[in-house]
């Protein structure tokens, strides 16, 4: 008797699909968690509805335009690789000139104090982040305390978030980062090639009751840290007293990084 070749192929295909599908179905419908212990937040964890930073640019510039203390603190804390090739650069916090930081604002006739001066830039941890909207796996997501977090374990490296970020805050590991790390912090992991990374607001510190390393590192206290939605936080107090600007407000992202000018 026998089975025709086409029937055999159809049977083989169906069996393969069933085999793969059943395994997948188990994964999807009943992923299961190990039920041995309980998961708790640290008692010391800092709480907020939307973390924000306010940069006192006057203090920062008066301390010194070449100062890199906050940047180096972040690099050393998070094992950020230093690539020589500018195409592959990875920077979580960095400095750029006024006219590059605020492309929507006038640079030609701005006062001499700010013209062509460096501003400290980083991920804005937007109130309505476009990167979170586009991530297909929720590898980048907004925490309840406002931090736009990066799950390096889930990121597939599609770089859609990099196309969506209006502030150029995101970096991709084009190559293995480890040969380009100058100094390792034994308490923090590195990343591997093929994932997107950015400033994660030192959530590993905040969850344990400490402040971001850039905030602590600044020798003149030019970085003010607090909850944007708490009317009595240091951030809101200083914003009531001084005029501030944010980057590309017209795009509706609601950035949380303020610059006092």
């Amino acid at each position: 008797m026998g089975v025709s070749r086409r029937e055999f192929l159809k049977l083989a295909g169906l069996t393969a699909a069933l085999g793969l599908g059943t395994g997948t179905a188990f994964e999807l419908l009943a992923p299961g968690q190990v039920e041995a212990g309980e998961y708790l937040r640290s008692e010391n964890a800092l709480k907020a509805k939307q973390w924000a930073l306010v940069f006192d640019v006057k203090k920062c510039l008066e301390h010194g335009e070449d100062c890199r203390i906050c940047i180096d603190a972040c690099i050393n804390e998070h094992n950020i690789p230093q690539f020589d090739n500018p195409l592959h650069e990875i920077k979580w916090i960095w400095k750029d000139l006024y006219r590059h930081a605020f492309t929507d604002m006038d640079n030609e006739y701005v006062n001499d104090f700010y013209k062509d001066k460096p501003f400290v830039l980083l991920c804005n941890h937007c109130g309505e982040p476009p990167c979170v909207r586009v991530c297909p796996t929720q590898a980048t997501f907004k925490r309840p305390d406002g931090i736009v977090m990066q799950d390096l374990h889930r990121c597939i490296g599609c770089r859609f978030c990099m196309a969506a970020c209006p502030y150029g805050s995101r970096n991709f590991n084009w190559l293995d980062p480890r040969p380009h790390i100058v100094h390792y912090n034994p308490k923090y992991p590195t990343r591997r090639r093929g994932v997107v990374e950015k400033c994660i607001f030192c959530n590993e510190k905040i969850d344990l009751g400490l402040r971001p390393v850039c905030v602590d590192a600044c020798p003149v206290g030019a970085i003010i840290f607090g909850d944007l939605y708490d009317p009595n936080s240091p951030v809101r107090q200083v914003l009531r007293k001084r005029f501030s600007i944010r980057r590309k407000l017209e795009l509706g992202t609601k950035p949380s990084m303020f610059y006092l000018i």
Binding site: Q33, V34, A36, G37, E38, Y39, L40, R41, S42, A45, P81, Q82, D84, F141, R143, P144, D145, M149, D151, L152, H153, R178, P179, H180, I181, V182, Y184, P186, K187, Y188, P189, T190, R191, R192, N203, D207, L208
Partner: protein, 137 residues
């Protein structure tokens, strides 16, 4: 059978290739792995039998809870609280990845991708470093 002169030799070659690992290692004894146990501490996060069977699932759950749910404290079944971190808690007691983790993983031919990003904090020297020359400074 059509094309018997092609199919039967092909099947024999296939079987030779597929069963190569078995008859190549037949009769050889590979000793069981001996991971070096920590000296200062006696109890792990969970009982030994549980950790042997499920430490990978435990680490996966730790990862999800830390990264996605801001929870960093693990209240284990023994009643003790642990900081959920491979580098800072597990490797605090198991002070050498090479002498503990790698012993069993190498024996079984398992390559967990955790180590692509996480590393042994006691052996930073083994990791590739960037040499800063006068030009790159």
């Amino acid at each position: 059978m059509y094309d018997a002169e092609k199919i039967i030799p092909g099947l024999i070659v296939f079987l030779i290739i597929v069963f190569f690992p078995y008859y190549y290692t037949m009769g050889r004894m590979v000793p069981a792995p001996k991971p070096v146990k920590p000296t200062k501490y006696k109890k792990c996060v969970e009982p030994l039998s549980y950790m042997r069977a499920a430490h990978m699932d435990l680490l996966n759950d730790w990862r999800n809870e830390v990264v996605r749910h801001e929870k960093r404290v693990y209240l284990s079944s023994t009643g003790k609280e642990w900081n959920m971190s491979l580098q800072n808690e597990c490797l605090k007691c198991h002070t050498s990845k090479k002498k503990f983790c790698d012993r069993c993983h190498n024996y079984l031919g398992v390559r967990p991708y955790c180590w692509d990003c996480h590393f042994d904090p006691h052996n930073v020297k083994a990791l590739p470093h960037k040499i800063m020359t006068k030009e790159t400074m």
